[in-house]
């Protein structure tokens, strides 16, 4: 089944292909986990990942041996790639959480299909986000001094610093994410255990499944726990990325000192996180031949999230330009002008252009024609759609 992206699925459109039943779904999905020999493409992908990881290790060694001068940061631009990457990774993680928690809470009929992907991504992204600030520090070995513990120096961390709020938020977020992921995946682990053929796999997944038997009481408890955690995670993810925004908004630096930063950063997290989930879902769908399970229904829903995220981010961009213009601060004005038309203009225009493209692409109403691959730009007839 080809991917046909459309905004116009009928309300009764099937979530999965008509020939998918609960039993076939379990066997289908578990079969891909319990496979004996991973396919070649998997090894290729894994090899590339390991190679990239090896590069990371070499780079970290290089960094820790030579000092953080290797980042290219300077005075006055004392923050560079490490912080940018930190914000990026945490945005991905946040996006994953948002997709999984908000759709669970809104009782979407389709959460499980993409939630695993989203949560797996968030679980991978969160440690990356945690690693970056450490690689950013001038004395990385002492990162734990940000942790409030009773130490021989008799010094507690400084509660007024946004960096400390950030550290606390990130730590809580990573811990919560692990638990959230685990609470959600528990029944699936039991299913895989039940379908496992070899003894070692049965023991491995048996331990992970924590004795899940699928009783009504267990299901009820799992649902309650998952719902509560979703309810906690949704505001938490907003808080974690807002606090990242506060790292900047709390500073005096021109271009940073802006009250809209916490929601702005959250908007950015939604759009970039969702975008990566869509990309990963496409890969997984193709690689594991899950066209029956991951249908255009899912892509349609996630595209809507992208659209909303893009609109929110557009609003933030416009507001970010408006603030300095409306204000009287020369430094703010200069910074804003330089960002849009100075050295960083190409990057700014690329981001802005992508954003507008996303909105334009999603916002154009087109009638899907069966069997037609829609990969091009929107057609001529564009009409806004109502976002509901």
């Amino acid at each position: 089944m080809a991917i046909t992206l459309t905004n116009e699925l009928p309300p009764e459109a099937p979530v999965v292909a008509p020939d998918v039943s609960l039993t076939s779904l379990s066997e289908d999905v578990s079969g891909r986990v319990l496979i004996d020999r991973a396919p070649r493409w998997w090894w290729v992908g894994f090899g590339i990942s390991v190679a990239l990881f090896a590069i990371l290790i070499i780079q970290m060694a290089w960094l820790f041996i030579n000092g953080i001068g290797v980042w290219g940061v300077e005075i006055p631009v004392a923050w560079g790639f490490a912080i940018a990457e930190y914000v990026w990774w945490i945005a991905l993680a946040s996006g994953g959480t948002i997709v999984s928690a908000l759709f669970f809470l809104t009782r979407s009929p389709w959460p499980s299909a993409t939630n695993r992907i989203a949560e797996s991504m968030l679980l991978s992204a969160a440690p990356c986000a945690g690693l970056m600030p450490i690689m950013h520090l001038g004395r990385p070995g002492l990162f734990y001094w940000l942790f409030p513990y009773s130490n021989v120096m008799g010094v507690w961390p400084q509660m007024r610093s946004p960096l400390l709020w950030d550290f606390v938020c990130l730590l809580c977020y990573i811990l919560m994410s692990v638990m959230y992921y685990y609470a959600g995946i528990l029944p699936d682990l039991a299913t895989v255990r039940d379908l496992a053929k070899t003894r070692s796999k049965q023991i491995f997944y048996g331990i992970l499944a924590l004795g899940w038997r699928g009783s009504v009481a267990e299901w009820r408890n799992q649902r309650v726990v998952y719902a509560i955690m979703s309810a906690i995670m949704a505001p938490m993810v907003i808080s974690v990325h807002s606090v990242v925004g506060l790292d900047y908004a709390g500073g005096l630096t021109p271009g940073w000192h802006d009250t809209q930063f916490p929601p702005y950063f959250f908007f950015g997290a939604v759009i970039s996180g969702t975008a990566v989930i869509i990309m990963l879902t496409i890969l997984v769908r193709w690689g594991y031949s899950l066209q029956n399970v991951l249908t255009e229904y899912h892509f349609n829903a996630m595209a809507k999230v992208m659209l909303v995220g893009s609109l929110m981010l557009c609003y933030a961009y416009v507001w970010e330009a408006f603030g300095p213009l409306y204000g009287s601060d020369v430094a703010d004005k200069t910074e804003s002008y330089q960002r849009m038309f100075g050295f960083t203009a190409p990057l700014f225009l690329l981001c802005g252009g992508l954003l507008i493209a996303t909105v334009a692409r999603n916002g154009s109403r087109r009638r899907a024609r069966s069997g037609r691959r829609s990969t091009g730009w929107p057609g001529k007839r564009r009409k806004p759609i109502a976002i509901s």
Binding site: N66, G67, I68, G69, G72, V73, E74, I75, P76, V77, A78, W79, H136, L137, G138, R139, P140, L142, F143, W145, L146, M153, V155, W156, P157, Q158, R160, S161, P162, L163, L164, F167, D247, G250, G251, L252, T253, W256, D329, V330, A331, T334
Partner: protein, 761 residues
């Protein structure tokens, strides 16, 4: 023939009294930067230009120059002129002031109105005015300057003539040319070179290196393996001035006895010792040599008991009554008539000006890393020299900063990167000397050697036959990219009459509202005040701070990467047109804000406030988030991106033991020299007394020749700093951020001549 012999028929030197001078006319003057006595002159100069302290009076400075000088930067009216225009302008001025024939005023001059206004102003201040021409100016310029000074009645009031204090006044150029000729003809069989480096800096046509190799026995006494030492047959390590006994004469003739501060670190010998060996003393001792000399001289001069004399001279630092006495001389009658025949200097299309470098000087300090990394006052360049070109000329030639050009002279060629310098005269290319050293050392390979093109007859200016772009570019390491304040209230300036009538117009009233109650500092409140009028941009404070606070050097690559470590920098701002800008210098140490933005964002309490208002760095707590630097609106924090201090290969003795040497990954910044504060506090506590005003002096304050920087206790109403801060033109930077800096500034006041329209300045 020098100007003095031309005018007076004998060699003389001049002493200036800038305290008495209400009008100063500088002709590319180095009076406050490099001339003998410049430190004293700078101090007098600044003291007469602090209207808050002089009761609303200040001197007025005019400057005409081909390349910016420190005095020119302070001038109330400054014109950039080619050397030939300078001669024409001085002739016009002489004519206007009656010092020269009246027809000199008839010659066409683009700046006639300006010169007329200046001449009238000088004329009204007879006896309280002076002209000064820099050493690089042509003889004719010096002659005209002397004549005009005489007609202004400067001699005897603002200028005193004294007998030359040099033992052998006269042309050094002639002396070395004669030596080279003798070497070429084989008349020299022994050459002993004590100190200088002629292989590097002698005119190229003398071919000194080759001729030196032909000398059978040559000895060099030098501190480094310089170009001359390498070319000599024998090398003797020289001791530093701080390592041996010696004596010297100051600019006014006063004699001082130089005492060593340390034993020779590298077994060096002084010139006295070498000369004594040549005289047959096999084991000379510089102390004994000096003492014997002074014993004999004291006896000749009937100075009484020698031990008393000697100890007094050492204690006071100078030998009493050795200053030269002023002479009364008048210019020879035919001075002007001799000039009348000579036409004004020729005007080549492009000309090169050879000028000593601000840091390396003639090259002798090129191995001092502090000076190599010291940003030059105007260019802010470190680690390189560059061919300085005016913006208009650069536009015409299609050049921009960093382009490498080939500059061809009649006999020589050299390649140099271009730096476009506002305030430079059109068609003039300034080539700083003292760079392009070839023998091993920090400076080897840094910059280009302008001596290679500097002939004996064209020592200060030479016509350029062609200047061509090579197409190459060169990365010049400047420490300041932004030349303008761009509407920010960084440099507040006003006019003197404005200061006298309504100073509130110059400095808007301070805003002090806050939601929070202010912190109280009941005991002491350390504070600093910096007078922008007094800062002449000499960079002494920058290097003093670096020495005092163990600030490492980082090298050209790291300066290029934006990681220079200077705790104190002197920002240079231009206003007005790029070709004739107004120039302002602004020293920027840490502001020690009472509501410091850096403190709230540090997650580990590495930067905190103390009860006396100091913004402290606790190096050991710093983990290097660099948030404090991001949040500092003044950008005065410095970070050890690499282990600079560890990488600096310097003897242990050169580090200040009172100050922690910072490790890699740690933030640092100006501490108001906290080590000095604490030492004084401990001392005062032991004596159970209060710390007096002026007892704690920061390194920058101590080294400032003009007393632009004042430090002390703000709570003490009688302290110098409290008085400065009470000035109506005292202001703080970026007041709107409500950071409440402890470092405040006194606004820049210019004393413009109402007769000169602003458009012409």
């Amino acid at each position: 023939m020098t100007a003095a012999t031309h005018v007076y028929g004998q060699a003389v030197e001049k002493l200036f009294d800038l305290g008495k001078a209400d009008r100063i006319f500088g002709i590319e003057s180095d009076l406050t930067s490099a001339s003998p006595g410049s430190l004293a002159y700078a101090r007098q100069f600044a003291a007469a230009r602090r209207p808050t302290e002089t009761g609303g009076r200040m001197s007025r400075v005019y400057a005409i120059e081909s390349t910016p000088t420190l005095l020119g930067a302070k001038a109330d009216h400054r014109l950039a002129m080619r050397p030939d225009e300078i001669v024409a302008a001085l002739r016009c001025l002489a004519g206007l002031l009656g010092a020269g024939p009246g027809e000199w005023t008839q010659a066409e001059n683009a700046h006639a109105a300006w010169l007329k206004a200046a001449a009238d102003d000088l004329n009204q201040n007879k006896g309280r005015a002076l002209l000064h021409a820099g050493r690089e100016q042509a003889v004719e310029v010096h002659v005209l300057t002397d004549v005009i000074n005489h007609s202004l009645g400067a001699h005897g009031s603002t200028i005193n003539l004294i007998a030359p204090i040099e033992a052998m006044p006269g042309s050094k150029q002639q002396s070395i040319s004669e030596l080279a000729a003798d070497m070429a003809s084989g008349k020299v069989d022994t050459l002993i070179i004590i100190g200088p480096n002629p292989v590097y800096d002698a005119p190229p046509e003398l071919d000194f290196a080759a001729r030196l190799r032909g000398v059978p026995f040559s000895v060099s006494l030098a501190r480094y393996d310089d170009e001359t030492a390498v070319a000599c047959k024998w090398r003797v390590p020289a001791s530093h001035e701080y390592e041996s006994w010696s004596d010297a004469r100051a600019f006014d003739g006063t004699v001082t006895i130089l005492q060593p501060q340390a034993r020779p670190l590298y077994g060096g010998h002084s010139g006295h010792e070498i000369l004594a060996v040549l005289l047959g003393d096999s084991s000379p001792d510089s102390y004994k040599l000096l003492r014997d000399f002074w014993q004999q001289r004291a006896q000749e001069e009937n100075r009484g008991d020698f031990d008393d004399f000697w100890h007094k001279a050492l204690q006071v630092g100078i030998v009493a009554d050795t200053a030269a006495s002023p002479q009364s001389l008048t210019p020879k009658a035919d001075t002007i008539t001799q000039l009348q025949g000579t036409s004004a200097a020729a005007k080549p299309a492009l000309q090169a000006l050879f000028r000593a470098d601000e840091g390396n000087w003639d090259g002798r300090y090129a191995n001092n890393p502090w000076l190599l990394e010291m940003p030059r006052a105007f260019t802010r360049l470190t680690w390189d020299n560059a061919a300085l070109i005016a913006p208009g000329t650069a536009r015409r030639l299609g050049l921009k900063t960093g382009d490498v050009v080939e500059i061809a002279f009649a006999k020589a060629k050299l390649k140099a990167p271009v730096y476009v310098l506002p305030g430079q005269a059109a068609d003039c290319v300034t080539l700083p000397l003292g760079w392009g050293r070839t023998v091993s050392g920090l400076a080897s390979g840094a910059g280009f050697n302008a001596y290679a093109a500097r002939g004996a007859d064209t020592a200060w200016a030479d016509g350029i036959t062609s200047l061509t772009r090579t197409g190459e570019t060169f990365r010049l390491a400047t420490t300041q990219d932004q030349d303008r304040v761009l509407g920010r209230d960084l440099v507040l300036e006003g006019e003197l009459d404005q200061f006298n009538s309504d100073p509130g117009k110059i400095v808007p009233p301070k805003k002090t509202e806050s939601l929070y109650p202010p912190f109280q500092y009941p005991d002491r409140a350390w504070a600093m005040s910096i007078d922008l009028d007094s800062c002449i941009g000499c960079q002494a404070c920058v290097v003093a701070c670096q020495a005092e606070n163990n600030v490492p050097i980082v090298g050209k690559d790291q300066v290029l990467a934006g990681r220079a470590m200077h705790w104190l920098r002197i920002d240079r701002y231009y206003s007005g047109s790029a070709d004739t800008p107004d120039i302002a210098f602004e020293p920027m140490p840490c502001m020690h804000c009472e509501q410091a933005p850096c403190e709230v964002v540090c997650p580990v309490h590495a930067t905190v406030h103390d009860h006396e208002g100091l913004n402290l760095m606790v190096y050991n707590r710093c983990v290097g988030t660099r948030f404090c630097s991001n949040n500092c609106p003044y950008k005065v924090r410095r970070f050890n991106f690499y282990g600079y201090a560890n990488e600096n290969d310097r003897p242990a003795e050169s580090w200040n033991p009172e100050v922690t040497v910072r490790d890699r990954g740690v933030m640092e910044k100006c501490t108001y020299c906290i080590q000095r504060i604490r030492t004084t506090q401990i001392d005062a506590a032991k004596g159970d007394r209060k710390i007096g005003d002026g007892e704690v002096r920061t390194a920058c304050q101590q080294s400032c020749p003009t007393q632009a920087i004042v430090f002390g206790d703000r709570n003490d109403r009688d302290s110098a700093v409290a008085k400065r801060k009470a000035s109506p033109i005292d202001y703080v930077l970026l007041d709107e951020l409500n950071t409440r800096p402890r470092t405040s500034y006194t606004a820049l006041i210019r004393n413009r001549n109402p007769a000169i329209k602003n458009s012409e300045t």
